[in-house]
């Protein structure tokens, strides 16, 4: 026998109570795990952002187009090293429910600028540039639909139509690419802008946004000001920002996920803190006489305090670990289903570490009052003597 066995036996002496407390903590940590995984996935765009990349969008909002003529004018701005552009396609495969991220891009320049995000091989890059109806497909997307190199895939748009009235563009898979960064995602497809622009029924010669690389992050501010000033008071005013800020603002459109996580988890934790804390205070009070006996036998106040804290820590770690396991299973199960909307949904080591930090905090916070009560307990009073 050792102190751990005593702690464990004390914790589970009333099994139903222990199980209910564990379930409460389990639920809190399951919520934390899932929400934190979503928050992490939503903000993954910030992590893959490059410091020397800027995004230029329409000042009204990023769904409004910009003229393609801006491409050459921005390329001429001092401090700009490379420019490319892209247009949101609003794609789906076979059925509108099968949402697919498709971007019509300027082939040569886009592949160069995004080469730090995606592992494009020289062969697939050349094939994409040469083939007007070619498409570069991310590995995850290709695996999702079983597409192989050379497959002809009909991709439809929920926004655009062709001049012949069709909403579907036939593209050929000329390359399947992987991600270049661990936190990146390959649930997307690139098609050629020229092919898309020539065939669409409206919006010709307009683009969704421009992506540019500056000579260094130090010139970002100057370039941003120059570009926005260049198009000020025009019909197509621009809003230029760093890629990181743009991605952050994009996520913010979905609501402040971090705030939601904090509020929901905070509310759950405070509730559980009160429930578990109160239950532990009662549990220790029920054991007043036993604690007095332990002290009579020679167990010091410090040792009794550590044992009570050990009990609440064990409770928090058991409940928390089970909750985290549940959250991991959930995110794993939902990963493919939500891949198109929340790519990269997973339980990261960072979330697990944070959760264990919270478990320790929860254990200490709920155990503090009963542990101090046990520490201060006067044997003579507790034994009903004197």
């Amino acid at each position: 026998m050792n102190d751990f066995l005593l702690i464990r036996k004390n914790l589970f002496r009333k099994k139903l109570r222990a199980i209910l407390m564990i379930v409460s903590i389990l639920i809190a940590f399951a919520i934390f795990g899932v929400l934190a995984a979503f928050e992490r996935a939503f903000n993954a765009g910030e992590d893959v952002s490059e410091a020397d990349r800027l995004v230029v969008v329409n000042k009204i909002n990023f769904t409004q187009p910009l003229p393609i003529a801006y491409f050459n004018r921005i390329a001429a701005v001092e401090g700009v090293r490379q420019v490319t552009f892209a247009n949101w396609f609003g794609g789906y495969y076979q059925d509108p429910k099968n949402f697919v991220i498709v971007m019509a891009v300027e082939p040569e320049t886009y592949l160069k600028i995004s080469s730090t995000d995606f592992a494009f091989t020289p062969e697939m890059s050349q094939a994409f540039v040469r083939n007007r109806t070619g498409a570069l497909v991310g590995r995850a997307l290709a695996e999702r639909w079983g597409w192989k190199l050379g497959d002809r895939v009909p991709i439809s748009s929920s926004i655009f139509s062709q001049k012949n009235g069709s909403h579907t563009w036939d593209v050929t898979v000329v390359g399947i690419f992987d991600k270049a960064k661990p936190q990146g995602d390959t649930n997307l497809m690139f098609i050629q802008y020229p092919y898309f622009d020539e065939t669409r029924s409206f919006g010709k010669d307009t683009i969704g946004w421009l992506l540019l690389k500056t000579e260094s992050p130090a010139v970002n501010d100057r370039v941003i000001k120059t570009i926005d000033a260049m198009f000020a008071n025009s019909s197509w005013e621009t809003a230029t920002d760093t890629e990181k800020a743009f991605n952050k603002a994009f996520v913010a459109q979905l609501g402040n996920v971090a705030l939601i996580v904090t509020l929901v988890v905070g509310a759950a934790f405070v509730t559980i803190l009160m429930i578990v804390g109160n239950t532990m205070v009662m549990a220790v009070r029920e054991r007043t006489r036993e604690i007095a006996v332990l002290k009579t036998l020679g167990f010091s106040g410090g040792r009794v305090l550590r044992m009570v804290l050990g009990e609440t820590l064990l409770l928090a770690v058991i409940g928390g670990t089970l909750g985290l396991a549940l959250a991991t299973l959930f995110t794993f199960a939902m990963r493919n289903t939500l891949a198109m909307f929340v790519p990269g949904l997973q339980m990261s080591p960072g979330i697990v570490l944070t959760a264990f930090g919270f478990m320790i905090l929860l254990g200490l916070a709920t155990g503090l009052v009963p542990a101090l009560n046990a520490f201060r307990l006067r044997i003579a009073e507790a034994m009903g003597r004197g």
Binding site: L6, E290, G301, A380
Partner: protein, 231 residues
């Protein structure tokens, strides 16, 4: 029985405050109990029997005077020092056994040994010996709820002697038992005193229980009156 006092109280005063009144339990009380003695402490309710036991066990402090037990002056020790001192020198037996319900008999007996440096095997050997002394070797794996009151008190005695303390303090050890079980427990205490040389101080209301002791101290109005009973 040695003439050396294992327990010595010198000018001990103890009282408590009730509302605005200060009530004295003892004033300048002196007491000497030699090593190997078996003393029954009797007296009316409120006479301070249990308070005396608390003072001897280092779980309460006198307002004045000195308490010497097993070679240490304990009224000046800190709480931490008292814990260590109790673990090394005192065995307690309570009226209501006070066993841990979630631990088996052997685990209950092993509790005081967690405070020693003994290894697992040595602890197990000590536990087996203590349970054998109280004739409960075959109930080692039983839980308190699976045992009678008398058996539980025997486990409590095994717990009290497992770390081989010099002094056993027993607070109404038979107060919750029928006559047969009580005699069995008292017989066991007598054997521990006679054969193993344990010094025992037992608080009791029961004159029949007191007859198992070597002598009886009557505590009343803060003073002792002594009666020799057994050889």
């Amino acid at each position: 029985m040695s003439d050396m006092p294992l327990v010595r109280l010198a000018g001990v005063s103890k009282g408590f405050v009730k509302g605005r009144d200060a009530i004295a339990i003892f004033e300048r009380l002196d007491l000497a109990i030699p090593e190997g003695d078996f003393v029954a402490v009797m007296g009316p309710s409120g006479s301070g029997k249990s308070t005396l036991l608390n003072l001897l066990g280092g779980i309460d402090r006198p307002d004045a005077g000195e308490v010497h037990v097993a070679g240490s002056r304990i009224d000046t020790l800190s709480e931490g020092q008292l814990s260590q001192w109790r673990a090394a020198n005192i065995g307690f037996v309570f009226q209501f056994y006070n066993l841990m319900p979630m631990l088996s008999a052997a685990q209950n007996v092993e509790l005081p040994l967690l405070l020693t440096r003994l290894g697992k095997a040595e602890r197990r050997r000590h536990v087996e010996t203590a349970l054998a002394i109280v004739n409960l070797a075959d109930r080692a794996k039983h839980y308190p709820r699976e045992m009678s009151g008398g058996q539980q008190q025997r486990v409590a005695i095994a717990r009290a002697i497992v770390s081989d303390p010099k002094l056993l303090l027993c607070d109404e050890p038979t107060g919750d038992l029928d006559r047969t079980s009580a005699d069995e427990i008292l017989g066991m205490l007598k054997v521990l005193n006679r054969d193993l040389g344990k010094t025992i101080v037992m608080v009791t209301h029961d004159p029949a229980a007191a007859r198992f002791a070597r002598r009886t101290l009557h505590l009343d109005k803060g003073h002792f009156e002594e009666k020799e009973l057994a050889a």
